[in-house]
């Protein structure tokens, strides 16, 4: 080795500890020197620093993943590949995953969000699949009080739109939520779903000694230097110098990459594929080699670059976008290159699979770094001791009596309909091409997006959900509720939930309270996934989401769920369809105001406990909803979520442009009845005969169900309880509040 920069030669003062600068601890440094049985040079140190970061090595989250259910009859591939795979019958499969791009989006929101989309699409492509839809989950501070937040929202939405639109992958859904906890550290999580035949599945594996590693796509530059370790630190001033690490997305290149890769995959040239995400060439090649138990060698001088004088470690960890690694059968390199050439792209051999289990970096044929592959994959993990956050004692002691019922409940309803978390997100999704590919049967604006599979009588439901406030007030039950809510969105749309991908967005796990939130949320997610039979097939962790000024974000697990609609006839939407239809409510309403949108928006309180959730009842009720939908008994279906029953009812009226009158006989506070968020509830409409059948079926199964009123052609939404009129509002006013809420919010001046 010619290029030895012995660390020890400079190992004197603190500022000389290069491993600290690289993001490794003293004990990690000791561990890696024992793995190597010598001290690393600069190249080797960079390899460990990247691979052992939270982002690549999942150092804090890996030990917690054991809780997850990851198998099931429809699960073809669980966590461990670029994305999980589920079976949707007929030898067809879907692959999907979500990924965060929080820190890049905080700094360069347009590019950060755009490259987030690009990254997750390549994960799907690397599975051999054609990307058929994407979704996104966005969290920001409240825009009302900050021009900067409005700028972030505009730029993030623009970035997601521009990238996805150019690719021709429809952006069909997602969510957009607000809380001050995200002010300094917004969350941008993107999800992509791909489709393929079972026989087309590809793996990220470097088998076959002598096979070639080919890099395809964009040239390599110094972009995103150290992005993986950057994502594994708090966002603060000290990281200022990392902020040069901005990648620029090139969706046009990505589109060509998709076309060319899928064309190559049709032939028998490629044994393995891996996208280049965090830590670029390094992590993609280490992972593929490790899976095969092989070694690899890569010559950095062969990598096509667009910047001069790049150091070997810079080439290895560059996060230039729109690149993929193909493991190509020996002798097939020219054929691969020919297909890429057709699309005006190159495919270049940068190294080979070896049999010695070593990760060898060369420069102009000379070795400049050499470490065991296994040791790079063997990032140390940390099991920490969590501590219940101090605020929970106080928030759990909240009693409904602590707040007064508002005088004018009509105004309360209108306020909620226009509230940031509830109001129409059309401002967002009209910037996304949600119809390209001509499969979008249910477009954004309903509970789940529904994408048909061409030439088949079946479709796919897609959702993304989270609730930071719930998880802040009760991480475990909050996390359960998210899975339940996502599954509700699926079943009301006619889809049977199949599996989830999870995005773990948390603060710095080294803080015991944050670690508690992380651990409890994972336990909650796992419990709900087991109860609802939706295994976790992949996910992403984004920790260290906090700033000195605003502290840690709300604990925000985000889930992306996919469901199967077994016949196009089952597709159901939330809008009321026919005047005269009966309105039914399934599920029990209790005196639960804690953690609600209502407390937050109307009383300015983020407090109380998350509503009770009986997972067994949830599962039973969801199966029932799906059963009656499949039986053709239901004309519209909507889950009752943020803002409670009154909001759900108003949404169905607004979307259907119809009026409704409903009456209850419940001994409950008016605000609990109208706006409480008791779980496991649904709002349906059906013809008279069907409504009767639904009630009968429900009582047979011991489920709470009631016909509460009827749809009419009038312009009013009227809600009575015990002969009192609680709500009597004009649908047009509801609609106005719901549809202009977002615009108003984006125009408010500080």
């Amino acid at each position: 080795m010619d290029r030895i920069n012995k660390m020890s030669e400079k190992k004197s003062g603190m500022e000389e500890k290069l491993w600290i600068k690289a993001g490794l601890t003293d004990s990690e440094y000791e561990l890696l020197t024992s793995h190597m049985q010598r001290e690393p040079n600069t190249v080797e140190l960079a390899l460990y620093a990247q691979m052992w970061s939270e982002h690549c090595g999942y150092t804090h989250t890996r030990p917690l993943f054991k809780h997850f259910l990851t198998t099931g009859p429809r699960i073809v591939q669980g966590p461990g590949e670029n994305a999980g795979i589920v079976d949707i019958d007929d030898d067809e499969v879907l692959t999907f995953k979500l990924e965060s791009h929080n820190h890049p989006s905080a700094i360069a929101p347009f590019q950060g969000a755009a490259t987030g989309v690009g990254g997750i699409v390549r994960d799907i492509l690397a599975m051999g699949a054609y990307p058929i839809a994407s979704l996104n989950s966005l969290h920001f501070g409240h825009p009302g009080d900050a021009g900067h937040t409005r700028y972030l929202i505009s730029e993030v939405v623009h970035g997601i739109g521009e990238y996805g639109n150019c690719l021709g992958v429809p952006t069909v859904g997602g969510e957009l939520r607000f809380a001050d906890a995200y002010k300094g550290n917004p969350l941008v999580n993107a999800m992509c779903v791909g489709y393929m035949k079972k026989s087309q599945i590809k793996k990220a594996i470097a088998t076959g000694v002598g096979n070639s590693l080919m890099i395809v796509g964009n040239l390599t530059g110094r972009d995103g230097m150290g992005g993986a370790s950057f994502a594994s630190k708090d966002l603060d001033e000290e990281n200022e110098e990392d902020r040069g690490a901005i990648q620029v997305g090139d969706p046009f290149m990505e589109k060509l990459l998709i076309e060319a890769c899928l064309e190559v995959f049709e032939e028998d040239y490629v044994v393995g594929v891996q996208d280049m995400g965090a830590a670029g060439i390094l992590s993609s090649s280490v992972e593929t080699a490790s899976k095969a138990g092989n070694g690899v060698e890569i010559d950095v001088s062969l990598v096509p670059k667009r910047e001069e004088a790049m150091r070997p470690e810079e080439v290895m960890i560059s996060e230039s976008q729109e690149r993929m690694l193909l493991i190509v059968k020996k002798g097939m390199e020219d054929k691969v290159n020919k297909i890429f050439h057709k699309w005006d792209l190159h495919a270049v051999v940068i190294g080979h699979v070896t049999d010695d289990g070593l990760y060898r970096v060369l420069e102009d044929g000379k070795t400049v770094g050499e470490v065991p592959v296994w040791s790079l994959m063997d990032a140390p993990t940390y099991i920490l001791e969590g501590q219940e956050p101090a605020h929970l004692q106080q928030t759990r002691s909240f009693k409904n009596e602590d707040v007064a019922v508002p005088d004018d409940l009509n105004i309360t309803l209108l306020t909620l309909l226009g509230a940031p978390d509830i109001c129409s997100k059309e401002w967002v999704y009209r910037q996304y091409d949600h119809r390209v590919q001509m499969n979008t049967v249910v477009k954004p604006g309903s509970d789940a997006a529904i994408i048909r599979i061409k030439d088949r009588d079946k479709a796919v439901g897609m959702t993304m959900d989270s609730n930071g406030r719930y998880c802040y007030l009760n991480p475990r039950r909050g996390a359960q509720s998210i899975v339940a809510e996502s599954a509700r969105n699926q079943v009301v749309s006619g889809a049977e939930p199949i599996a989830i991908t999870d995005g773990l967005n948390f603060g710095n796990p080294e803080h015991p309270e944050v670690y508690y939130q992380l651990e409890q949320s994972i336990i909650g997610l796992s419990e709900a996934c087991r109860a609802l039979d939706t295994p976790v097939i992949g996910g992403n962790a984004s920790l260290y989401n906090q700033t000195p000024e605003f502290g840690a974000i709300f604990p925000t697990p985000i889930i992306g769920m996919v469901g199967l609609v077994k016949s196009l006839d089952h597709i159901t939407t939330m809008e009321f369809k026919n005047a005269g239809d009966f309105i039914l409510m399934i599920g029990e309403t209790r005196d639960e105001l804690g953690a609600s949108e209502y407390l937050d928006q109307i009383h300015g309180l983020v407090t109380g406990d998350v509503p009770e959730l009986d997972l067994e009842l949830e599962s039973k009720t969801q199966k029932f909803i799906l059963e009656i939908i499949r039986a053709g008994l239901v004309n519209s279906a909507h889950d009752i979520g943020d803002g409670g029953m009154a909001v759900a009812l108003a949404e169905s009226c607004i979307a259907g442009e119809l009026g409704a009158e409903v009456s209850f006989d419940l001994d409950l506070r008016s605000d609990s009845l109208l706006f409480g968020e008791s779980q496991t509830r649904f709002m349906l409409s059906a013809s008279f005969e069907s409504a009767e059948k639904i009630i009968d079926l429900a009582s047979e199964q011991g489920l709470e169900a009631a016909t509460i009123g009827r749809i009419n052609t009038g312009n009013q939404l009227i809600i009575n309880n015990l002969d009192n009129i609680l709500i009597d509002v004009n649908i047009a006013d509801c609609s106005e509040a719901f549809k202009t809420g977002f615009d108003k919010m984006m125009k408010t001046d500080a």
Partner: protein
Amino acid sequence: MNWGVLLFPGSNCAEDCFHVIDKVLGKPVTYLWHKDTDLGDVDAIIIPGGFSYGDHLRPGAIAHLSPAMTAVKDFADRGGLVIGICNGFQILTEARMLPGSLLQNKGIKFLCQDQTLKLDNTDTPFTSEYDPGDVVVFPIAHNEGNYYAKPKTIAEMEQNGQILFRYCNADGEVSDATNPNGSINNIAGIINRAGNVVGMMPHPERSSDAVLGLSDGKGVFVSMLKHLEAKHGSDQ
């Protein structure tokens, strides 16, 4: 009757157009490649939507210079039917096969929505299935759909019946309030003087497969088909 769908790097509605001709119309259709100078034996050419060359510089700025576009011009000069949809429209204006240009939407944002359109001239090979004044729904999805031409050009086009579709509301009213992108005279689709080259921002193909809840757009392709069939009948 052979249909051709022209593929550029970055086209992303080519499969959609192909699907409609193949599955909805049940007619033979092939892809044409931007580098080809010989387009083979086709009777109608669709230039699909998307982001050819990433829309870099201006939408259509790079694509219109490709070898295939020279062949498309020849094809049109010989009377062949050409329809450019969305990015295809932008390419046709860049190639000067249609007058005017498509500027950025007045709201400077990408706009994807189901759009109501009013039929103007229905006496063309592309619109014969409709009646004048019909109101139809085709989705739009574009960032540069704001049609502009010099006032004199617009006046001539209006006089010659070159406007095929205008943005309107559900009642067929055409006004500034029903104009999503700032197009002059709410223009959504136009035809050349010779009557065989059309450009339109709305996507008729996305409104052709009833499963998706929209089917008004099928008429555009059926009109073209009937025209071709009549022509072939008389050729024989």
